[in-house]
Assembly symmetry: C2
Amino acid sequence: MSTLNKNIGLIGFGVVGQGFYSYLEENKEEKLLPKIVIKNNNKERDEVKAKFITEADEVINDKSVETVVELISDDKEAFDIVTKALKAGKNVVSANKKMIANNLEKLLELENKSKGRFLYEGAVCGSIPIIRTLNDYYSLDTVTQIQGIFNGSTNYILTQIFKDNVSYQESLAKAQKLGFAEADPTSDVSGSDALYKLLILTTHAFGKFISPSKVLKIGIQNITDSDIAFARENNLKIKLIASVKSNNNKLWLSVLPTFITNDSVFYNVDNEFNAVEVVSESIGKQTLIGKGAGSLPTGQVIYSDYKAPENYKYKYDKILSGKRIKYETQEFIWVYSDKITQFEKYIEEVVIINKSEGYAKVSIADLIKIQEELLDEKLSLIALTDEALKQLNKKYEFAYALQYA
Amino acid sequence: MSTLNKNIGLIGFGVVGQGFYSYLEENKEEKLLPKIVIKNNNKERDEVKAKFITEADEVINDKSVETVVELISDDKEAFDIVTKALKAGKNVVSANKKMIANNLEKLLELENKSKGRFLYEGAVCGSIPIIRTLNDYYSLDTVTQIQGIFNGSTNYILTQIFKDNVSYQESLAKAQKLGFAEADPTSDVSGSDALYKLLILTTHAFGKFISPSKVLKIGIQNITDSDIAFARENNLKIKLIASVKSNNNKLWLSVLPTFITNDSVFYNVDNEFNAVEVVSESIGKQTLIGKGAGSLPTGQVIYSDYKAPENYKYKYDKILSGKRIKYETQEFIWVYSDKITQFEKYIEEVVIINKSEGYAKVSIADLIKIQEELLDEKLSLIALTDEALKQLNKKYEFAYALQYA
Ligand SMILES: NC(=O)c1ccc[n+]([C@@H]2O[C@H](COP(=O)([O-])OP(=O)(O)OC[C@H]3O[C@@H](n4cnc5c(N)ncnc54)[C@H](OP(=O)(O)O)[C@@H]3O)[C@@H](O)[C@H]2O)c1
Ligand SMILES: NC(=O)c1ccc[n+]([C@@H]2O[C@H](COP(=O)([O-])OP(=O)(O)OC[C@H]3O[C@@H](n4cnc5c(N)ncnc54)[C@H](OP(=O)(O)O)[C@@H]3O)[C@@H](O)[C@H]2O)c1
């Protein structure tokens, strides 16, 4: 094949686009990139060898382009670009988790009909090669759980809260000032960003496509000073944990602020770092920790997707067995709140620590209901890991015994 | 290509060989494996479809065999097998870290001349895909450090010491009973096994081939009860850490028992788990944690090597730049000992805690000399991480100030 039809069509030249570009430079491949598509023609930009244009179609329909690298911000426009590019038979690389989580089933159909391939390692936990690891190593293994810290902004905010003894609001402001959180942090602090990543991994590990709107998701935006004080008192940290678990052909998912004990690997995953833990039948627990975002860390995996071996594609080998698996919300979680008595009617079991403060066993389905009912109020709920539950039960044995005597 | 010449030649049917075989079964590929080579024809074995034979040459010279999977115990015999197989143009998969660490340069020459490829993910930290991660993601990045817990047996022994409050000897005995340590544990407890893995990663990350005999290596076999007591008093754990660092075209390596503070990711990597931390200029710190050994965890990566995309080979892209890098031993390390005064003449700086107990700054070169001089005596030395040094300095400030007043 001549190099002429090996060109790259880069669409989007923001944080990640520029990171990707710096690897092309490093490897002296800028000549493969005659044009870069951006939105705003009047923005000042670093000088590069490519010509800036504003029409994505111009690179998508360019016969010399073999790989389209889609790195724009909007998810709907991105879906349109990726669809067209796959239809045009291009290899496509993307990092747009929202677009992918919302459209993965359709995207696979498009890929199946295309002579191109669709890779998107950059969409999940930045520099951590979790999709390839699932794809290359877990085909013949049964994954039972994936959980982790999938959002760097919220982890940075939570870390500062515990390190500097500040409130959620102060910590958010600092994270924004330092560029670790966006001006509009909604997608991060609400847990949406973590949820998109969780759903993409759920397809690779369990073969299921689940709509984001169906999943229990509580962000960190309502965490109170008394939640933080309680964590500190008990030598716990709060992390935003996304989790998917499977058992007996059932599947449960959630994104929840969670108390972590100091013997957990997640306890020392701080600042902007992400972590993914995969539990499987054959190899047990495996954990990958690294930077979940940023120009160079994300640019690097985009570059590796672009450079993947010629016949490399994601295999999605769980989709067949996934047909037997049902998404469920009938699973109990222990949650802490300083207003636990507010949800009395949904509570299965409770340990009251003091007045309205305590922790209770509630089903995922009921937590979703509680969220809907309390939509206007600020709901602060922190889940407990099994270890955190054990630790608290030991301490509050007395309260517990009194209630269940 | 007909399936006839896609056969597998499996040599070795022990812990790992049987693990590999179970994935072939799972994927209904046993028919690709008509013969398995073993050593002892009289051993009782689980029934399998393949025929057991004792002549490795019979599969190496078999035209129907495309991939030779070498999983025997001895390193010299393994080198012979791998050499012949590459010369015969076969793809080769191996997990023999001792053989690879001692012969990697020659093996690459053989691979370069062969139409086959040589993959060995199973040789380094079992289930953790660290070689592929370095190969696929770090080509254009500059790695500055790799360190980690590379040996599961020693980590299991050290974990039990701290959990059950037992001595090194008791813990070793328990690990042997449970199958986490070999009957002859020398290669594990002396640090050799960790060193072999470190040297393989050094080639992938820095492009250097270094002989095991040149590297500072202290095992865990001489750890004393008072070392353990000191760790406990200071809320530290001891882990066997293998490390390679590079700066300014210099490279330092060591395998040392090391005090770890409780804010380190390694602190909660316990029992038979391994961890690898890669630090690089573009993506910062990345850590992979998982089972470092065992039949299924190792068998799984052997299977993935066997199944790697057709044109996949390790790239060794650092070998060119590696030519500029020099292996050095002029670097200082802080070490603790309850007999620190024994090495007085080599000490650059010291903090005496009590009589002969203390911690001192010593060069790698001098630590190697100390080891040689004290060959007959039991030498217990525990390195300090930067964080451990900081923590101890704070506590022993007073002692320190007195000495350097
Ligand atoms: N930032 C991270 O660390 C990170 C990590 C993982 C994944 N991601 C994902 O990667 C993607 C890109 O993120 P980013 O942070 O690089 O975004 P960004 O900094 O906001 O940059 C977006 C780029 O896309 C261009 N653009 C927007 N709409 C366009 C359109 N319709 N046609 C052509 N170009 C368009 C913008 O053009 P102008 O330059 O003219 O404004 C800009 O260059 C997103 O999906 C994000 O979720 C980001
Ligand atoms: N065990 C682990 O978890 C692990 C993890 C990573 C890497 N590794 C590496 O993987 C390799 C295999 O380890 P293992 O634990 O599976 O060893 P093992 O249980 O001792 O099994 C060795 C096998 O090799 C056979 N064998 C020995 N010499 C042979 C020869 N000259 N020709 C043909 N067959 C021969 C033995 O035959 P018999 O059955 O007749 O005795 C046995 O089946 C070693 O290099 C080891 O370092 C092991």
